[in-house]
């Protein structure tokens, strides 16, 4: 008999983690090796356990889940990330595909869907809803989501997007610098560039833009 699918659960709500853990451990071919409440902790646990699957909430305090997923890909090549979210959101799905996530599932989907997603991904088959599947475009960089309208956000570089997401969460520039391991001056430079590109010169309006674009939760 092959080893059970090892799973790391990442969600800032303890009750959600417990509920998922209890449910997944009913499956004989699955085992939850750890469950943590932040993306930072998750990276450490991935390096420690090298789980087959990381089931991670999209919106958590602290480090952004998409940045964490990139770090996980480096820490454990075989680990595959499935994102959990309250609802489908193009911006999240785009970012999930960018960081080579293997699945995106909403919390309102049935438990059977969750179990199937984990099994599929573990066997090398991605898991996205049929609506998302029909919009996936494969180009030279890999799969991405085709969007009807590209917004001004597409003019931002990856780093500028990161800065914008952290700003939208209300983090100070010092906190952002600490999280991304860059200087406050660099954060200032990126922030000015974001404001110029978006023609938004107020932090509150930047946050509103980020929420509207699905880069941050309201």
């Amino acid at each position: 008999m092959s080893d059970p699918i090892s799973i790391l659960l990442v969600d800032d709500h303890v009750m959600v983690r417990t509920a998922f853990k209890d449910r997944l451990e009913l499956e004989p071919d699955m085992t939850v090796v750890a469950n943590v409440g932040t993306a930072d902790e998750a990276i450490k646990e991935v390096a420690k356990f090298m789980p087959d699957i990381v089931l991670m909430d999209v919106d958590m305090p602290g480090m952004l889940c998409f940045d964490a997923a990139k770090a996980m890909n480096t820490a454990s090549f075989a680990t595959r990330v499935i994102f959990l979210s309250a609802f489908f959101h193009d911006r999240y799905i785009e970012q999930a595909l960018d960081v080579k996530a293997w699945g995106y599932i909403t919390k309102s989907e049935s438990e059977q869907s969750l179990v199937k997603a984990i099994r599929d991904v573990s066997s090398g088959v991605a898991y996205f809803s049929p609506e998302v599947q029909s919009r996936i475009v494969v180009d030279s960089k890999g799969p991405r989501l085709a969007r009807a309208n590209r917004s001004r956000a597409t003019t931002l570089t990856t780093r500028e997007m990161e800065i914008l997401r952290y700003l939208a969460r209300g983090m100070s520039k010092k906190e952002i610098a600490g999280t991304l391991h860059i200087s406050v001056n660099t954060v200032n430079r990126h922030t000015s560039s974001v404001m110029n590109k978006l023609d938004i010169h107020d932090r509150v309006d930047l946050a509103r833009f980020a929420i509207r674009e699905g880069m941050a939760e309201a």
């Binding site: 309250a86 030279s140 085709a146 699905g214």
Partner: protein, 537 residues
């Protein structure tokens, strides 16, 4: 004339010239009235406000200008001032112009000396524009206040929805576990089913909250309004009871195009229809029509619309109970409802308001108690789209029936995505990541492979640079020699992979970028071409 006298007279003349220059250029009307109330001075602006000439005014008195309803009050103020009794220095009143029109004015009056006699200096300010500006300001403030309130409630709602959704996840997980633990005939299962149903309904509420808070950005594209109304009518006929007649306006106008999110437009109409349905518990008629918005309709809400943009107007009209004016002023507020507790969330029209804001649109309501309510939805009109932008009927992707597809590529993530898509199209997929894998798959699945997909950007067996055209061909030749004659698709972003001279007729090139359904269609085409070749003698 002495030098001093001459100097005094010159000085007086200069002062008078200065006075006239100031008075004639003043923005307010200036009048000087004698103790008997007759005018002895009037400036140009006073003539403009009253529509009389200066010469005519100098033959009149304040009683001639006062509105009959105001005359008694004005007389009292005038006589009190002259008698030294307390009287308002500034007051608002109405004058009657020469053309008969009434004009609201603000009067500032004070005693003065005019040519050595007591007189009254009257300053008249036309307050029509000021009143209009105040009303305009009030309307804008009201609009801003509502927008701010909606935004604040939206953010609150969004936060609540996310936390609430997490709790629902826990409830649904626990329900599922309970169901699996209990025997099929356990008496608690009915109660558990009720909990589950309620939790699913609550999920719908959180979804509505997030829609209201506009978390989901609109995906706008050109939509032909008349077609969208007909599509919505089909949905509404299923939603409305038989006692309500639904009439969707005839297509009597040229095609009206808007740039909108189709789903959100449908939600706007659905929410308005549900509102109408609830206003007609005993049945009635619901009419929906679309037409270009007239200038007079647009003038009514010029403070929020772009005057340079043409708009369309969708009219949703019912024959229901009507809405009282005090309720009308609140119907777009979130959580405001007149429905009994538990019957309405109070978000339906707030969502409509929010969605229209997202579309740079606007909504107005006209209602008469006992006769019905009409909502006018204004949306910016778009030009007819270029043919390629219109909605084409989707090209049907042929589905497989469990046939096996060999998928070769060295990026496991891309293989995972393509496998997912192919499996959803009904194919069974065998993945191979390198040459060794291919050989193993060839030996193991030789007889069941019905199609081959080869990522041309796959690295060679040593894991180095991507395969050249020649290498891909040698791999394909290898498969063909092993007896696998299945059609093949080579995926690459390198146009040099042109199969016309390098590959057989069973092989086609799919250039990146491509949509996953394109791959399904190509496999379908290749399989039918191959089948046709095989039946030819």
């Amino acid at each position: 004339m002495t030098g001093v006298q001459q100097h005094i007279e010159e000085s007086l003349a200069e002062n008078e010239a200065n006075f006239h220059a100031l008075a004639d250029n003043a923005n307010d009307g200036l009048l000087i009235a004698t103790e008997s109330g007759d005018y002895v001075y009037a400036n140009a602006r006073a003539a403009q406000i009253t529509d009389y000439s200066v010469a005519e005014l100098l033959k009149m008195g304040y009683r001639d200008l006062a509105h009959p309803d105001e005359l008694e009050r004005v007389n009292r103020i005038y006589s009190d001032r002259l008698a030294g009794k307390p009287s308002p220095r500034q007051y608002e009143t109405t004058l009657v112009r020469k053309d008969g029109r009434s004009v609201p004015v603000e009067i500032t009056a004070s005693l003065t000396i005019w040519h050595q006699r007591r007189a009254t200096l009257v300053i008249i300010r036309d307050i029509v524009e000021r009143d209009q500006a105040a009303r305009e300001k009030g309307r804008l403030e009201e609009h801003l206040h509502l927008a701010q309130k909606m935004e604040a409630v939206g953010q609150l709602a969004s936060g609540v929805a996310h936390d609430f959704n997490n709790l629902l996840t826990v409830i649904l997980c626990s329900v599922d576990r309970l169901k699996e633990t209990l025997a099929d005939n356990h008496p608690a299962l009915d109660t558990i089913a009720t909990i589950e149903e309620a939790a699913h309904q609550a999920t719908g509420v959180t979804r509505a909250l997030l829609t209201f808070s506009q978390e989901a950005p609109a995906e706008k594209k050109p939509i032909r309004l008349q077609t969208a109304l007909q599509d919505s009518a089909r949905l509404l006929r299923r939603t409305l009871p038989a006692s309500i007649e639904l009439v969707v306006g005839d297509d009597c106008h040229p095609p009206l195009w808007i740039n909108a999110d189709g789903t959100q437009l449908q939600q706007i109409l659905l929410n308005l229809a549900i509102n109408a349905r609830d206003a007609m518990p005993h049945g009635g008629s619901l009419r929906i029509s679309a037409a270009p918005a007239s200038q007079s309709e647009l003038r009514a809400w010029k403070d929020v619309c772009d005057s340079r943009t043409p708009y369309v107007c969708v009219t949703v009209s019912d024959t229901g109970a009507g809405i009282t004016p005090d309720v009308q002023s609140r119907i777009f507020e979130p959580f405001f409802t007149t429905k009994p507790r538990g019957r309405g969330s109070g978000l339906g029209l707030a969502i409509v308001h929010g969605l229209l804001k997202e579309h740079s649109g606007h909504i107005t309501v006209v209602s008469e108690i006992g006769k019905g309510t009409t909502f006018h939805v204004f949306l910016p009109r778009a030009g007819s789209p270029a043919p390629q932008e219109t909605d084409h009927a989707p090209i049907k992707t042929p589905h497989g029936h469990g046939e096996t597809v060999l998928l070769v590529g060295n990026d496991p993530h891309m293989r995972g995505i393509v496998t997912m898509a192919l499996e959803s199209l009904g194919y069974e997929v065998i993945q191979a990541g390198d040459g060794l894998n291919i050989r193993q798959c060839r030996e193991r699945h030789r007889n069941k492979i019905r199609a081959i997909i080869l990522d041309g950007d796959v690295a060679d067996q040593s894991g180095g640079k991507p395969l050249s055209t020649g290498s891909v061909r040698s791999w394909l030749d290898d498969l063909r020699q092993a007896g696998i004659r299945a059609p093949a698709v080579i995926i690459s972003d390198d146009p040099a992979f042109d199969q016309t001279d390098s590959f057989d007729t069973r092989t086609k090139l799919l250039l990146k970028p491509f949509k996953v359904p394109d791959l399904g269609r190509l496999i379908g085409e290749l399989r039918s071409d191959t089948a046709a070749q095989e039946v030819q003698p």
